[in-house]
Symmetry: C2
């Protein structure tokens, strides 16, 4: 049974963390909404909202036969061992999952820089709060997360967990390239400040299947509907 | 080996979701910072920051012998089967975990109502943004989450997952009583709007061990340093 991934069309978003895992190991998957258009969108909506057959609150959603799983980190927890992208023992799987959930928190905060008041309001209607939020994020929060991941990688010979290449490494790559897209000025000295993260980003970006994916039209370009948005007015000198 | 839980002192916070699971089944645990004071705080700090022996980014942190697990939902994923508070099969455990991660998102948004710009700034310095954020939360986001959980419970005979009492039920209880504390006006018609959630809250609150815990001094009262804060100016008519 081919895995089916449901996610909003037109943006990398949280779905991209799942796509990177599939692409890295060349696991076939159906990117349902992208491939089926409005019908795919309707199929996704039918899985959401709560109640019988609607287990998800929001995308991404993974369908594996009868199994339906939502929440990015939960999907990767499920796929990791199946795709050979998780450490072998249970305790290390919880370590990997803890890191992935910390990435999820980091991603939420990166998203909130442009939508601090509400995702239901336009960016232009919360610009002042966004500027304050982005400045705090870039001065305090992002460096705290980045230092944490950098130290984690440095202590693990360049791998996030258990000395093996895992889905966490792929997700860290995605966060770093996303931040570099959104905040080029703040991230200007990235390689010098967080060398282990920089080395991971280079290593992961050179994995042959992933490099081919990133260069293909399947990789949706970063844009201003995703999590990582380049609004120059939110950036600061790093 | 007795479980050791590390969390900030003086507030329920995210640690409370773990405490409720322990209390429900009368599993002994050490609430390290509360019991050991500054020494416990130092022990917690030593587990954080990344690198060798410091796997956590933030509390809560669970120590089970050599195993150290961070992130609330990850801790409950680990404890669920061990405490008899998780459904038996793997797919349902992922369903439970997806719900728990959705609760985590809901809790983050509830927290952001009073700190939309940054957790590093005082509430008084982001009051205007907080008012806008809280209004959006109470009008749009909270009802969306609550309707989702209400439908999930209604379809499951009053249980969140697999027709069995689980840690997800305990966490939903905590969210409901937290919202009722923080936003009494907005939640005034709670029972009528979300009857399945109201029934769950009553059922869980009557569990004998949990009721004893809630009435004991071990249950830290809600207060204005936690996630759910009662700032009357942020509340609206429901």
């Amino acid at each position: 049974m081919t895995y089916r991934l449901f996610y909003w069309p037109g943006l990398q978003g949280r779905g991209e963390f799942v796509r990177l895992a599939f692409e890295e190991v060349a696991e076939p998957y159906v990117d349902v909404v992208r491939e089926d258009g409005p019908e795919g969108m309707a199929a996704m909506a039918a899985l959401m909202g709560g109640g019988e057959g609607r287990p998800a609150f929001a995308p991404p959603i993974l369908e594996d036969g009868d199994v339906v799983i939502s929440q990015t980190a939960n999907i990767l927890l499920y796929l990791g061992p199946r795709l050979g992208l998780a450490p072998p023992d249970e305790a290390l799987r919880h370590t990997a999952h803890g890191l992935q959930l910390t990435i999820a928190d980091f991603v939420n905060e990166a998203h909130d820089t442009h939508h601090p008041i509400s995702g239901n309001l336009f960016y232009k209607d919360q610009k002042e709060a966004a500027k304050a939020c982005a400045t705090e994020f870039l001065n305090n929060r992002a460096p705290k997360y980045l230092a944490y991941f950098d130290k984690t990688l440095a202590a693990g010979d360049g791998f996030a967990v258990g000395g093996v290449h895992s889905y966490v490494d792929l997700s860290l790559f995605q966060v770093v390239v996303g931040l570099a897209y959104a905040f080029p000025r703040a991230m200007a000295r990235f390689d010098e400040r967080w060398p282990a993260l920089a080395a991971l980003t280079e290593r992961v970006g050179r994995r042959p299947r992933l490099a081919a994916y990133l260069a293909s039209p399947r990789r949706i370009p970063f844009n201003e509907t995703g999590i990582f948005r380049h609004y120059p007015e939110l950036d600061i000198d790093g």
